[in-house]
Symmetry: C2
Subunit: 219 residues, 2 copies
């Protein structure tokens, strides 16, 4: 039957205000959420329109087509995290510290961009990463691999496969958010998105990964 469009607390702001950048941003926000939920093919332009408080026609006015809008969403999510990671100047930190920083940054970014993970999964499974290729997500990945290799060379990390271990680290940083709606049923009394839980989750992730890669002779 198709899902009920119409929904969402369609922002009842008086539109007709002619602010191009604001409108574009509203569309992108709503589109990000819609594409995360349903992927490129499953997303409904009407849902994006009502979610952003504008009409469908605006989407085509600014973005030409659903596919172009999708690419714009991907592109907007692309760079900030790499910048974040670059800023902390990881090469100057000892490998353990660098790894901790990356994990913290990745999780913090995920808190700010809750839809990122599902967008990437939709992209992988629906479009076989066709659009993903055009993005720069690889970069963050390479960073982690570098840290792992440096840690092994310096003797503070045990011998691991850096590529597979980087995948595992990415897994730990993203799964919590992507599976949230299912996980919440396991502990109905807990608010998994509260700052306290996120903080605990971050700590547990760091502890697990660092203990997992550390070369343990002493202690």
């Amino acid at each position: 039957m198709g899902r009920s469009t119409q929904s969402k607390s369609s922002s009842n702001k008086p539109r007709q205000v002619r602010d191009a950048e604001a409108t574009k941003a509203q569309i992108l926000d709503a589109a990000t959420e819609e594409f995360a939920k349903h992927g490129l093919s499953g997303a409904r332009t009407e849902a994006i329109a009502s979610g952003s408080g504008v009409t469908k026609a605006m989407i085509y006015y600014y973005f030409e087509s659903k596919e172009k809008l999708y690419q714009a969403v991907l592109h907007r999510l692309d760079f900030p995290i790499n910048d974040m990671i670059r800023e902390t100047n990881l090469d100057n930190l000892p490998p353990e510290e660098a790894l901790k920083e990356v994990i913290q940054a990745a999780i913090a970014y995920r808190v700010q961009h809750p839809h990122l993970g599902m967008i990437l999964f939709q992209e992988a499974n629906q479009n076989q990463g066709k659009f993903y290729k055009q993005t720069n997500w690889q970069e963050g990945f390479e960073q982690v691999i570098n840290i792992l290799e440096r840690g092994m060379a310096e003797g503070c990390f045990r011998s691991v496969d850096p590529f597979l271990t980087a995948i595992h680290i990415a897994a730990v940083c993203t799964f919590y958010f992507d599976a949230y709606e299912n996980l919440k049923y396991a502990k109905p009394d807990l608010d998994l998105r509260s700052p306290e839980m996120i903080e605990q989750y971050t700590q547990q992730a760091i502890n697990l990964i660092l203990a997992g890669v550390r070369f343990n002779t002493q202690q």
Copy 2:
């Protein structure tokens, strides 16, 4: 424009063979793949029909509606892994061994059911776990938590939050498969689905998790 239906190597078997169970199974197989890619709302009944080599009408004949078919798919994926885990009789194994067995079983199950992860993610994000609640996935989760608690009590695991650590273990066991289509671009020369890579991935996962939770005084 919608995506191009029509596709898929529509099994050119001569139909009209009247084998109810076989037809149902074919529909469920194709539906599993389609729902994994597009979720409940995004899935196209025509794609499921052509993917299973029958007509749309058959889907409604056997499953009444798209939503009922979706629930049937979820239900079919539900039990086997819990059985698998139960069979190995984890309570009789030392915690480290038990954890290793669970990780191996989970990954092996994922190899056999490549669409499981995305189905669960779609379910979480598209339907807020509405249908997930009716399944028994919690059970496997509890098993891992039990092992972790037992390991801590016996002093072979360090002090971890068992719930969050179980989430991290689940993450490591599923992310590799769910992100496959994106990950493959990072190492184009590698076949991430080859038995050798899966074996390496499994070993790395076990090593990382065990090292991550082990209480390390010696060695």
